[in-house]
């Protein structure tokens, strides 16, 4: 992986409390798993706070993020800098309520940081 791409990913993860690498956009997902993950995030209270990145528009980033996360598929979700997983794990964490907790904590930290 090119150092420049890795730095770009590091920054994306550091700067976005709710970060979703997906196929398509939040409004126009182009894969069922990406669409389901967006929906799960909306239900969990992240509407308007998701930073979605369309890997279809950036093939180099698509390959790099699979290597970076050591996760072969898209979507990939990061919350508060932590790799959460794909569609299945996001859904399971939503069912247990853990997803909502992680989102609230990450947004609080980000908003507190922004307020300084």
């Amino acid at each position: 992986m090119q150092p420049e791409v890795k730095q770009r990913i590091d920054a994306q993860i550091r700067e976005n409390p709710v970060l979703l690498y997906m196929k398509g956009t939040e409004m126009l997902p182009r894969c069922g798993f990406s669409a389901a993950t967006v929906e799960t995030l909306h239900t969990a209270g992240a509407t308007g706070r998701i930073h979605a990145i369309d890997v279809l528009a950036d093939p180099e980033l698509w390959q790099a993020i699979r290597e970076y996360s050591d996760w072969p598929t898209i979507p990939q979700l990061y919350i508060g800098g932590e790799f959460i997983g794909g569609c299945d794990i996001t859904r399971e964490l939503s069912e247990s309520g853990e997803l909502q907790t992680k989102i609230e904590a990450a947004l609080e930290t980000a908003d507190a940081g922004a307020g300084e």
Partner: protein, 86 residues
């Protein structure tokens, strides 16, 4: 030719020998699959670690798009019992 679904079942079984493995074809196209795996090997492992174990066993088929989508349910025997009692 053996269906991909059956070959994926065999690959996961080989990678996690004591697992109960069931692979379902979600769309009838033999490339949108769901793997339901129950194994004591998952005890103490996070969801990510469990999913990575399963992805690793079929990684080349994901990379070359033979398996276009693989949904995963990875439970310990106790979770499996709770999630779908027989």
């Amino acid at each position: 030719m053996t269906q991909i679904r059956e070959q994926v079942t065999a690959k996961i079984q080989a990678a996690i020998p004591d697992a109960e493995v069931e692979v379902v074809d979600l769309t009838g196209t033999d490339n949108h699959l769901e793997a339901r795996v129950i194994s004591p090997a998952f005890v103490g492992k996070s969801l990510i670690e469990r999913h990575k174990m399963i992805y690793a066993s079929v990684r080349e088929w994901i990379d070359d798009d033979t398996v276009h989508a693989l949904s995963i349910k990875a439970w310990t025997p106790e979770e499996g019992e709770r999630c779908n009692p027989k």
